[in-house]
Amino acid sequence: MKVSFGGLSLKNPILTASGTFGYGLEYTRFGELATLGGIVVKGLSLEPRVGNPMPRIAETPSGMLNAIGLQNIGVRNFVEKRLPKLPADQMAVIANLYACSAEEFAELAGYLSEQPGVAALEVNISCPNVSSGGILFGQDPKMAARVTEAVKRRAGDKPVIIKLSPNVTDITEIARAAAGAGADILCLINTLSGMAVDARTRRPRLANVIGGLSGPAIKPVALRCVHQVSRAVDVPIIGVGGIASAEDVLEFILVGAHAIQVGTANFIRPDFVFRLVDELERLCEAYGITSFDEYRGSLRL
């Protein structure tokens, strides 16, 4: 089940998605972290952040909306207090970076590049660029390239993963920009922009009004994005979006992903991702898949 790509080497292709698995430690009572390919921790900023007001989450058909707003303990707290408790020598601990300017991103990268326990840096560019009036980094190829370069310059030998937003006219354009700027790996997709309201009380269901849609509902969009990007660029891809079964994992690999992340499905049951590792093994056997390298991108068109 081992996979190696873009400078990352994983026991298996299963990672947890940022924001849905805390800092990993929340799940130690439900399974053995070391059995996973790795985990991506909640988006880290230079300073601790309090996030958005409540309510922050809403259920939707086969999915959910969140507007957590990047509440996190800050990158230093993470490195000092959480990272040492993670089995970082047995699985990949990937830091997810959240910032509002290319400089902040670079600073985060510089700091994290020196932490031996961190296997890679995942850059969340689905965040507003304060210096461009709130347009998201991930929605503009030039800005995406600038952030990628800035992070890459300071990341040392850590692989840099750029996590793309699906809320764009042409995701391959952003992917090309990030790849051109030196991204080692692309991760897609982040959440779709969505909203929910209560017709009776006339209130939005999220205090932030607009939030990110995730879960099985968005799987068709995520698969399409991975498929398109894997044909457009020559950079390995981590697929994420709606994965809720071993069958789903294979679908993402089939359209070109090297590894996948499980996000919202962690809420279906807390041991979901641990069970998924076993299920994937069984399913590969059932389908006669002996090599992910052979299977990857083998979609018959």
Binding site: T20, G22, F30, V50, G51, M54, Q71, N266, I268
Partner: protein, 252 residues
Amino acid sequence: MTRFGKEGFDGDFFELVLEHPDPQSPAWRNWKPGQFVMVRPTAWEHNPLWGRPFSIYRADEDGLSVFFQIVGRGTERLAKLEPGDEVTVWGPLGNTFAVREDAPTLILAGGIGLAPFAEYVRRHPHPENLKVVFGHRPPVECYPLAKMAERVSCQSCRETCPADLDDFIALLGRVIPDYCRDGLVLACGPMPFLKTVQRIVAEHGGKAQLSLENRMACGVGACLGCVCDHKEEGPVSVCARGPVFWSDEITF
């Protein structure tokens, strides 16, 4: 994880009895009232997506049970479960109510907020120190109050019109102060009710614990979807840091 039996109370109220997931584990052997479980029937696939949090109503060799009221899609479906249907349960989760054996302790419950107190009352070594004040809308028979009344003094107050609510708030205003000197107040119920309790306790300089019922997705402190505002720590997960908070720690 577990299988299922069910006992209908009146109308929309049910005790959902599940096979105990793991009675011998240290976590379960040491569970305490106030803690909760996340419950999710396998047949939900991904719709509804999240498990539903319920206070642990009872947990012993005979099984694990939660006491719930139908209020929406999830609880409606829980009420339709049949014996043999598979249900995923994770817990015990969260923290617990304080127990001050010798302190006069006032239990304030609004509606289904009574659930966590059933076991609290059953376990308390000095039931004579306990008093329960219970506000509710459906008939009192819907709730497991009678059993509790065998052990402790219970007063219930039904709201059938807006004026009744004023009466209940007035009642709270009369009883709470008595427990504000050297006593303890514990409350669980709807948000407006908890706010009222918080206000009255603050006015009288008392100590109270409030159990919050925020919407939850993960139940384990990972998603940060259920936070409340903690005065010192900022936003904290109700599922992991709570659900029980000291009344003066949090702002609504």
